[in-house]
Symmetry: none
Subunit: 254 residues, 2 copies
């Protein structure tokens, strides 16, 4: 087992030994071995954990939140996969920032006014953190539960069978390497959306196409970002496939 001194680790990870000691004190990252002289030594597993800590910190999480997240997701692999997703979102955010700055430049060039929301696009971040928290807290549970409880036993069986079939189809398509924009995926997406529309209390059961579109698109994102859902579709790869297929369907057909 290879192990590294505190300074070696700090250097490679781009932090300081003080930080590592701090993480040790906070119970975030214990060294894999402590010499009887008190020296801290770190092995591969500790480095993986450090990698995850640094990632989460870079995403703006506080140390207690990081600790919680690490404890909740003991199996490292899916967590890392989720991190990749996060990073890709970060990339998209940076892209938006770049575009935003370009707009600012051209606006300066032509001395024209641009809308503030255009200028700040991509800088927000906090704006949709609330959005997410709201979306989870109340609206999800209330009406949906009422409706569900009112159903008969047979109806419930029919419903869950249908959901299972939907999910199985999605996974099959993903594993077959299908194209999200392809015909099969799109008919599946149509089924998915009409199923959503069958659930009262969701925007998908509305007649307003714009609302439906927004709802379905957001839902796709949630499928990817929320493990609870992602699990239905074969974790991340399946969930992204579903998201993309739904997004394309929305663009084309709504």
């Amino acid at each position: 087992m290879n192990e590294y001194s505190i300074q070696e680790v700090a250097k490679q990870a781009g932090t300081t030994s003080r930080t590592l000691r701090h993480y040790d004190d906070e119970g975030l990252l214990a060294p894999s071995r402590v010499g009887n002289n008190g020296y801290r030594y770190y092995d591969q597993a500790a480095l993986v954990r450090l990698q995850r800590i640094l990632l989460l910190r870079e995403l703006g999480l506080g140390l207690p939140a990081i600790k919680e997240a690490l404890e909740r997701q003991q199996n490292v692999e899916p967590a890392l996969a989720a991190h990749i997703e996060w990073l890709q979102e970060e990339r998209r955010r940076i892209d938006r920032q770049i575009k935003s700055i370009k707009r600012t430049i051209t606006a300066l060039e032509i001395k024209g006014d641009i809308a503030m929301s255009d200028m700040m696009d991509g800088f927000d971040q906090a704006q949709y953190r609330d959005e997410v928290e709201q979306r989870w807290g109340k609206e999800a549970a209330d009406k949906s539960n009422e409706w569900w409880d009112s159903k008969s036993k047979e109806d419930k069986v029919v419903f869950t069978d249908f959901v299972d079939e939907l999910n199985a189809n999605w996974i099959a398509l993903t594993e077959a390497g299908a194209d999200p924009a392809g015909e099969e995926a799109q008919t599946q997406a149509a089924k998915h959306v009409s199923w959503l529309a069958s659930v009262p209390g969701t925007p998908a059961s509305t007649d307003d196409p714009a609302l439906v579109k927004e709802y379905v698109t957001n839902l796709g994102e949630i499928y990817v970002s929320d493990d609870r859902f992602a699990e239905n579709y074969g974790r991340i790869p399946g969930a992204t496939f579903v998201r993309d297929a739904l997004a394309i369907y929305c663009e084309r057909s709504l």
Copy 2:
């Protein structure tokens, strides 16, 4: 002149009014107007400045450093252009992080050991922060710009025409379903490399074949991963084709 209240600005920019007041106190960002009631109001110019402040802060600079940077670079446009470059570098760093995590995952899968430096690639940040701060002060008025600015109008036209031709050829080859290792693609790759060599200040204009090889190979990867470039070559399919052709060319001829 449009102007916005402190809260409007905070909301759009994704920060808080407290932060804006703090920046005011620190002399970083003064409101464009202060009502005789003490209310702060911000105009377009102030928003541009705020945009830059938030950017620099996101890059990890301290407030005094930001102040200095803003005072030193009064002319906004080149500063914004430099920011774009920075952001693109950030994007590449994120890409490296993603790759790094993927390597970590595969390493976990095969339970093999990977070198620490591999695992931490892209996480460093501090390592090349110095590099960045240097680039701010002096090299910002780049040699690349110098070279470009020194060209005549006709030369510029010739240059861009040549680039357009290169790109068009690549796209044509891609769409014709050509083989990256084939003769046509390889002569095109040779043209591309010699064009790169014509731009001074890039490693491709060096005589060291190893350096050229590394540079061109990396560039190929960037073509694929960076939208800005990928767009030149017909998005992803074209960009991968270019990357492969260049890689093969490097292997064979350098």
